[in-house]
Symmetry: C2
Subunit: 148 residues, 2 copies
């Protein structure tokens, strides 16, 4: 059972790598198996730590690089709005954000109907919900009109 699953994972990644024209390396496979196995939201550092036992020589750089590759391949997604920098918002009214995936523009969105709507019971059962924030990603008007 377990063996079958592992083989499938390997095959799956092999297939992805082939299609993308990149090599299936030991490191990529181990990282792949690790992130598939764990159902949480690890940082690059945590993944590196978790692989210490299995692949003690793996450099943290490789984890970052592999994760970036995996993101391009659609295997993982980064959480967080942009990358590093923290942004601040002085608008404390209840609102949401539209983020342009091209120029990184952030625009405020108001949607009071959504704010006051009741969440499905499954969601409110997660805990005591304090706030909700919707993030829409897309191409803003300006970028859309600037066709290259």
């Amino acid at each position: 059972m377990k063996k079958t699953k592992n083989i499938n994972q390997l095959d799956h990644l092999k297939q992805i790598c082939n299609k993308a024209g990149i090599k299936l390396t030991h490191q990529r496979l181990e990282i792949y198996k690790e992130i598939i196995a764990q159902k949480d939201h690890p940082s690059a550092e945590l993944i590196h730590q978790r692989l210490q036992e299995k692949v003690p020589t793996m450099a943290i750089d490789t984890v970052y690089r592999t994760l970036a590759t995996f993101e391009e391949l659609g295997i993982v997604k980064k959480l967080n709005i942009h990358s590093a920098k923290t942004l601040f918002d002085a608008n404390m009214d209840q609102h949401h954000h539209f983020v342009c995936t091209q120029c990184n523009l952030v625009e405020d969105i108001y949607w009071p109907e959504f704010d006051s709507s009741r969440l499905p019971d499954t969601l409110s059962a997660m805990g005591q919900i304090q706030s909700r924030h919707l993030e829409l990603h897309g191409i803003c008007k300006k970028c859309n009109s600037t066709v290259e």
Copy 2:
């Protein structure tokens, strides 16, 4: 007109600082005016740059500290899920996140009805929307039951 507005801003911040028992410093006032004036989502660095002319001696450190203070006072909000570290998600199914404000737990949320619902025209008018991501913040069950 402008003068009146400035006085009001000063008074407003003075009131907030008094209530919080902290000093109303020149730096805090300038940063306050800056973030109130601009309707965008600046980084600490950008705020620092913008204040170069007016307060050329202000240290970037002060901007960070002041912003942190302002966040506690409810004057600004940080965008971004956590602070620094980027988290990765290997779950590529359309889903959303619940984030515990206490223990930083991140849990997946599924809400297909929302995913397939039509957005108000005002929102879809922002641009060509590619994805939507809802982030619920609150206290998770475990933290809620661990009453101190």
